[in-house]
Every structure is written in C-alpha cells, then in structure tokens.
C-alpha cells in the first residue's frame, strides 16, 4: 500500500468515511523530525494493509491542521470510524505509532 496524500477535497472521503482505521501524518518540508518520520510512515503503509496510511502537508492545507488543533509537527493522528482517537507528537519509532491503534 502507498501513502495517500490528503487535501481538503479528499479528506472526508479518505479519512472520515474510510472502511478501516486511518493513520494521518501531519508534516511540513522545513521540519527535521518530519523528514525522519516519512520513511517510518512509508514502512507502516507497506507492512500494515489493515491500516490506511495518509499524510497532510500542513503548509498546503492549514485548514486541515486547524480542524484538528494540530500545533506541533510531526503529529501522527489515529482515526477510527471517522473519529480522532489518539495522537503522538515528534519523531516516533514504528512501535509507538502502531500503539495508537492497539
């Protein structure tokens, strides 16, 4: 599975109406920890077909960051059934991200 790139047009469909739990990586190009997070997120997308893995460039989509009160990046957000169920802030190893779905 690849990482789905989100914007305000597809967010509702891809995340809020998804048929499985969704991981969303809120990131930006200037953020060092976000750059380290990207390969981890890609790996999760590869290894965990039971999850939908997405990312939001907050510079291009500030309204999506605002909608969920994101104030630090990277923020890894877990959604289940259209609801935000947990977040982790800063670089996180794979195990920590997966704990959001435990």
């Amino acid at each position: 599975m690849t990482v789905t790139v989100l914007n305000k047009e597809n967010f509702k469909n891809e995340v809020l109406q998804a048929d499985k739990p969704v991981l969303v990586d809120f990131w930006a190009t200037w953020c060092g920890p976000c750059r380290m997070m990207a390969p981890v997120v890609e790996k999760i997308a590869e290894e965990h077909p039971e999850l939908k893995v997405c990312k939001v460039d907050i510079d291009e989509n500030p309204e999506l960051a605002q909608m969920f009160n994101i104030m630090s990046i990277p923020t890894l957000a877990a959604f289940k059934g259209g609801q935000l169920t947990g977040t982790a802030v800063g670089y996180q190893p794979k195990e920590n991200v997966l704990k959001l779905f435990a």
Binding site: A28, G32, M67, S72, Y91
Partner: protein, 296 residues
C-alpha cells in the same frame, strides 16, 4: 564541510574525538564550559589511576591529550542541529554561525528533566513545543512565550519573531544570561502553571500563570531552558528519544544518517568508563561513515 563535529568535551566527546582522529577523520570538538565530570570531587574507580584524581583534572588531561593528537577544540554553544537541504550532511547551529559537517557525535551529557510545571507535559503538542523551527508556522499573528534564560532561549525566540505578533521570554525566576532585544518582553517571575482552554473538544494552551498570581495570555509555549542538551538537540533533528535518553544502536548510531550519540545522554551507567567506551565506538563509527561518503 567538516568531517566530524563532536558536541561536548567530556570523556565521551574526547574519546570519540581521539578514535575518529586516529581513524583518519578531521575532528572538531565544540563545547561550552565543563560538564558533569568536572563536578566530581574524586575519581578512583577508573582504570589506570594509581591515585585518585579530581574530575576536573581528569577532564583537563583528557582535553590536553586530544589536543596533542591534533583534535581542534572550539568554545561555543550549540543551539540547534539540522539536516542540510539535500540530505548530504548536518548543520550545527551556534548563536553566531552555522557549521556544516558530514557526521556529528552528540556527547553533551544528560539533560535534567523539565521542571514540574503543571500543564507543561500534558499540553505537549497542544501549544507546548520543543522545536521553534518546526512549529513557528502555527503561531502566525499569535502571542507566544519562550521558557528559558540563555542563548538557547534567545535563538528559539528569534526564530519565532518573524511569525508571531508578540514574543515573550519567561525566565522562570532566573536572570537572563544574554542581552535580550527590546522587542522581546521579559518576564522573570516563576511560572507556576501552564493554563489551557477547550477548543472544539481538545485542550490547548491559553496562558501562563506566574507566582505573583498573574495570568499572561499566550497561544503557545516553547521550552528552551538553560543550554540545549543532547536530548533537546536530538529531538529537533528527529532522532529517536525515550525517557529523556537518545536511542542508539550498537555502533552508537541514531536513526538520523551521520548522527551518533555517546555518554550520559544514551542512558545507563553515568560513569566515565561507559562514556569513554561509547565515545570510542561512536568516533570509529562516525569516521567509517565519513569514509563511506567519500568513496561514493
């Protein structure tokens, strides 16, 4: 671009410098003042000491020995590290300039745990931040505070100035150790709580309560107390940390290419022997990494 910058000149940093230098790399140690070792009154459990020495003596001898072997030492305070734009090296930021290096070894000791201010931990990611470069974006035209009193805090405040409408410095009971420009409002009272409000179902920072009972409204708080420790620097670049220690593999490598860590900042025994061993491993690994880049 330099080969290797080592941040910290304690037993881990100096050992890393010695082994990297002997392995053929150019090595520069950047440090500011003494660390935990200099405070040790007597060291007598380290290999090869016929009589006890003070920590300060051991530290001074370590630095003198490394200088004799050609290691460069610079007195400066590191306030940030980052990857360069094309991922080919690392940038070490000090108050007045940036240094490019192929590899960096973090040996700046362990950081004391953040002060127990109610709300500080709970509101991390909800207005409390440890990385101005990452999060300044969220505070356009907003009021932000930086918690700290030195060069590190000033550096974070200066990153925020072009974005935020107002930047304040809360020194938490301390006197500022650097000149703070007039544009940054300084509050010296102790901070007793980070207050929050509920916005669309989630908590977020709303202000800082000081010991005089005053509540100063702020939208965000950036933590930059004292000098930036190894763990602070690791978090800014995206190296894995856990319980206030840096996560490393057997070669003392972090998850960031070219970034190594050794000594107290990786957890475990806070002992010279452990710092020296880890420094040696990190120095060799960093030198090997630099050689690998050259052969590309």
């Amino acid at each position: 671009m330099m080969d290797i910058i080592i941040i910290g000149s304690g037993p881990a940093g100096v050992s890393a410098a010695l082994y990297a230098k002997r392995a053929g790399a150019d090595v520069t140690v950047i440090s500011r003042g003494s660390g935990a070792l200099a405070k040790a009154e007597k060291i007598e459990n380290y290999y090869g000491l016929a009589a006890p020495v003070t920590g300060a003596e051991l530290e001074a001898d370590g630095i003198a020995g490394a200088k004799r072997l050609g290691v460069e030492f610079m007195e400066d305070e590191v306030v940030g590290i980052a990857m360069n734009d094309d991922f080919t090296g690392l940038v070490v930021q000090t108050p007045n300039r940036a240094y490019d290096a192929k590899a960096v070894v973090l040996t700046a000791g362990s950081t004391r745990i953040a002060p127990k201010i109610p709300g500080l931990k709970e509101l991390e990611g909800k207005g409390v931040s440890y990385c101005a470069i990452c999060d300044a974006f969220f505070y356009r035209e907003k009021t932000v505070a930086v918690l700290g009193e030195g060069e590190y805090a000033l550096h974070e405040a200066e990153i925020l100035l072009p974005h935020a409408s107002r930047v304040m410095l809360f020194t938490n009971g301390k006197e500022p150790t650097v000149m703070i420009p007039d544009i940054i409002e300084v509050h010296k009272e102790k901070v007793v709580a980070v207050e929050s409000e509920n916005a669309n179902g989630t908590e977020r920072v709303s202000g800082l309560r000081t010991e005089d009972g005053v509540l100063t409204p702020v939208n965000g708080l950036f933590v930059a107390l004292g000098t930036a420790g190894s763990v602070d620097l690791a978090r800014k670049i995206g190296a894995g940390t856990e319980n206030n220690r840096i996560v490393v593999d057997r070669e003392m490598a972090t998850n960031v290419p070219g970034l190594y860590a050794a000594g107290d900042c990786t957890g475990g025994l806070l002992q010279v022997v452990k710092a020296a061993y880890e420094g040696a491993v990190a120095g060799l690994a960093a030198a090997k990494y630099v050689r690998g880049l050259k052969s590309l």
